[in-house]
Symmetry: C2
Subunit: 317 residues, 2 copies
């Protein structure tokens, strides 16, 4: 019999899950679409069914010791999903309690960036670190912060929203209803917005001038930059500078040994991280100079599942 | 026999110490000037002598179980003072090791704001809180942050320098060598600088127009504001707004249940805290709205000693 935890990642489009052992090895995975059911309880029934089928297919006799779930606005303190903007089910969803009653094992919930940070600590590049941070760069900017060896949850379970630090008071409109949040500059969407700003500001030729806003992607900008499109390179320089300035301030609060980057936009690599590194070192308080490593996440495509399962392994190992 | 810890606060001018029991009661106090001796070891000898004399004067038989020290750039992880700008002894001072060898008890070191935060948790208004923050408002702005029940030290022992968050890139010159740090706006010195900015900007009459920069104090500005001097009131409104904006960002990272204020400038009371409260609530991410209490420290004049002694009691209680 093999002890495993179920790692579940609830995304806006799909929910993926996997059976993960204490070494981070997967013993089976599956997925269902997230938002087909009108009632949250019916969605969970679909999920239980998919999990059950995947377990039955396994050649190993799997023993579930717990379930870890990464979800939008997942609250570790209460085990609930609280008013997630990109899910169809509104209000407070009593996720941990419902799943625990069904599967009869402990269930832990947090958001996807916190799960990624725990995954990095248990299975990835932060195994020996008790103070570090993971930044997820996708449509938005998420963050998971580990201090003194534990995730920083804050008194209400919602700490660590680095994407919503206001870096330019009165700046770009943010989905949160305010202006100037970091993720309006540093995210795939932020890169698109910066692209249009630069196209307006400069006269230079660029392949990006032929793409309408709604078709533009951060990957197109990265590809153009890698082909030495000067305007595209300036877009990444600006994005990296905004991130480096913000991280210099965050480091003043949490003093991390390393900052790990993860997610689609992170694939831009040195195009983004060279200016981040330069701006971070230039702007940081002398106490922290030269002390912080900027690293790529060591978790692969299974990061979301590994991170969620780490919510349980973190308390067992 | 009475178990006590010695709380020592090393300030730029004076070093004060006290014998504190587990209830926060003082069983004797003393002080020596900090910077009379050229050698750090000679200063420590003066300190041991003063402590010894104070113990001998006590009517109670005191049993020292440990020593906690708050010091500029005090490093909890190493027990050292690292390159303190306002002490005459340069480089790395091996404070905990030296004192521990002399007094034969455990010695813990941190900076004064961290000590104040622990003092608030053990003896003050944060007894039931595991996530909160203390802001000390004096010549500069210090901060001690408690998360998951422990001080946030970061990987190098120097986390929690909220005063050195850059709030205005390219803004006011800071003693740290950079520009735009929060403490250049929010501190007794910051209030003076804002006073001169406002005197330059506005035409209105003010009692502050008769005071040269080098004689102006934050208290004078507070006194003028309390006498309804409009310009002085605007100085505090500006200072409070800068602090409220910065705390909204810090809360996005640490999500504290309460923020405690301590120090000379904090005595300005609602003159400062009304605009802080208003700006904080206006600027904060919806997740945290209405959740954070702004409170005055419950530690009195002995705060520095109580906080330092809490470094030891925190591990005993």
């Amino acid at each position: 019999m093999k002890d495993i935890t179920i790692g579940i990642d609830i995304g806006g489009t799909n929910t993926v899950f996997g059976f993960i052992d204490s070494e981070g090895k997967s013993w089976g995975e599956g997925s269902i679409p997230t938002q087909t059911q009108e009632r949250f309880e019916d969605y969970l029934k679909d999920l239980y069914k998919a999990i059950d089928q995947t377990i039955k297919k396994s050649e190993e006799d799997l023993h579930i010791i717990g379930v870890g779930i990464g979800a939008p606005n997942g609250n570790y303190r209460t085990g609930t999903i609280d008013n997630a903007a990109n899910l169809r089910w509104k209000g407070i969803l009593d996720l941990a309690k419902l799943v625990s009653e069904e599967l009869k094992v402990p269930v832990k919930v947090t958001n996807d960036a916190n799960a990624a940070a725990l995954g990095e600590r248990i299975f990835g590049g932060a195994k020996d670190m008790s103070d570090f941070m993971v930044i997820t760069l996708g449509t938005g900017l998420g963050s998971g912060i580990v201090v003194n060896g534990d995730l920083l949850y804050g008194h209400d379970g919602f700490a660590g929203e680095v994407g919503h630090i206001i870096v330019r008071p009165g700046g770009r409109e943010c989905g949160c209803g305010r202006r100037g949040c970091l993720e309006t500059y540093v995210s795939a969407t932020g890169v698109k917005r910066t692209a249009y700003k630069m196209l307006a500001k400069h006269l230079g030729d660029s392949s990006l001038r032929d793409v309408p806003f709604n078709q533009l992607t951060a990957k197109m900008v990265a590809d153009a930059a890698n082909k030495q499109d000067l305007l595209a390179k300036e877009i990444f320089a600006y994005t990296g500078k905004m991130l480096g300035e913000a991280l210099a301030n965050v480091a003043t609060i949490t003093s991390p040994k390393a900052i790990f980057f993860f997610g689609g936009l992170a694939k831009a690599g040195d195009l983004l991280f060279d200016p981040v590194r330069e701006t971070l070192e230039k702007n940081i308080l002398f106490l922290y100079k030269g002390k912080i490593s900027l690293l790529a996440s060591e978790l692969g495509d299974d990061a979301a599942i590994l991170g969620a399962s780490a919510l349980i392994w973190n308390e067992q190992l």
